[in-house]
């Protein structure tokens, strides 16, 4: 919606500049969407609550949990591709921690 509005309301941009600008914008929006695991974690917590409240059974839980794990793995892969930090996996104490 926001993206479309910006494109529609930008009549002053020349075609070349305009195209480049649009691609940058798309890239940023898509990138944020691909690398944000907050909504997935919220879905996982909501699913857990449904199980605890007895609204779904174990089978249903397992099935939907598998979907959520798949989405988490995809986000992790994208974060790695973009060189962003990821949770999980091997870690060690960072060296040179006094540097700014």
């Amino acid at each position: 919606m926001g993206l479309l509005t910006n494109i529609l309301l930008s009549p002053f941009l020349g075609p070349i500049w305009g195209t480049k600008w649009t691609l940058d914008k798309v890239d940023r929006v898509v990138r944020e969407e691909l690398t944000d695991d907050t909504p997935i974690k919220e879905d996982l917590m909501a699913l857990q609550l449904q199980l605890e409240m007895g609204e779904i059974d174990d089978d249903e839980y397992t099935r939907r949990e598998a979907e959520i794990m798949q989405r988490l793995r995809e986000v992790r892969e994208w974060r790695e591709k973009f060189g962003m930090s990821t949770s999980g996996g091997p870690v060690r104490v960072a060296e040179g921690d006094e540097s700014p």
């Binding site: 794990m69 988490l72 996996g89 091997p90």
Partner: protein, 265 residues
């Protein structure tokens, strides 16, 4: 070579050299906690530096998905350790490449771990989630709020002639009254738990029926009083609210050490 043989070889080739770290405790002797670790019951033991110890199990270098099974295994180890020790929980899925790397963590963070262990000495955490039944709360509001009751009666009496705007206004009044009720319940519950807890923290609510998602830090000596107080409150509100009360947990919500960790390649 049969396919089964090559599969066995591949399994053997996967090195089980990493250490999964569950928590940090104060203990200067090596300890065993049984075969209860993540990944089909790995042996859980300690890696010590002076009087600090990391509770670990051996693991291949993998990324653990936060499935219910894995998270429960992580929590079960911490619950077991907690019966005897004050602990600093590590976040789920923390894997180090080697014992040497775990020792490096204990050495570099020795002072911060020591300070937090002192502060958390004999403290435990309880979780309290409160959900409401919308219909029951609306019914209670319609019973107790004069303005809303009058407007509703009026709309019911003049069903044919009552305007869209009167209904809209009723809806708005009910919404506002519900928000006010939610704040009132939450404030009252926090108030009643104040003198039996050391600290509390409110997390983001999950879904649209939850009005409170809180963690309480409690002194072990107050555990029983806290417990009784929660039961009394849930009785007081039993017609309106559902209580999900869990614990005791390690102080997950009250330990905030920024570990300087980086990805090990």
């Amino acid at each position: 070579m049969s396919p089964a043989d090559s599969a066995a070889l591949a399994a053997e080739a996967t090195p089980v050299e990493g250490k999964y770290v569950y928590c940090i405790i104060r203990n200067d002797r090596s300890r065993e906690f049984g075969e209860i670790g993540i990944g089909s019951g790995a042996r859980v033991y300690t890696v010590s530096h002076n009087d600090l110890a990391a509770v670990v199990s051996d693991t291949p270098i993998v990324i653990y998905d936060p499935t219910r099974e894995n998270v429960l295994a992580h929590e079960f180890v911490n619950e077991t350790v907690m019966r005897e020790f004050t602990l600093i929980p590590m976040s789920f899925g923390t894997v180090f490449r080697s014992e040497k790397d775990v020792l490096a963590l204990l050495k570099s963070t020795y002072q911060a771990f020591t300070d937090v262990l002192d502060k958390m000495q004999d403290k435990i955490e309880f979780g309290l989630k409160i959900l409401w039944d919308r219909d029951k709360v609306v019914a209670a509001i319609e019973r107790d709020n004069d303005e809303i009751r009058r407007l509703k009666d009026e709309i019911t009496r003049n069903a044919a002639s009552s305007t869209y705007f009167a209904r809209m206004q009723l809806g708005r009044l009910v919404e506002a009254a519900m928000e006010e009720a939610s704040n009132r319940y939450v404030t009252d519950i926090h108030e009643q738990l104040k003198d039996v807890s050391a600290a509390s923290r409110s997390n983001k609510v999950i879904g649209d029926r939850m009005i409170l998602n809180a963690a309480f830090l409690v002194d072990r000596k107050d555990e029983r009083s806290f417990d009784e107080r929660v039961k009394a409150i849930s009785l007081q509100y039993e017609d309106l609210l559902t209580f999900k009360y869990t614990g005791p947990w390690p102080p997950y919500n009250f330990v905030n050490i920024k570990l300087k960790l980086e990805k090990a390649t």
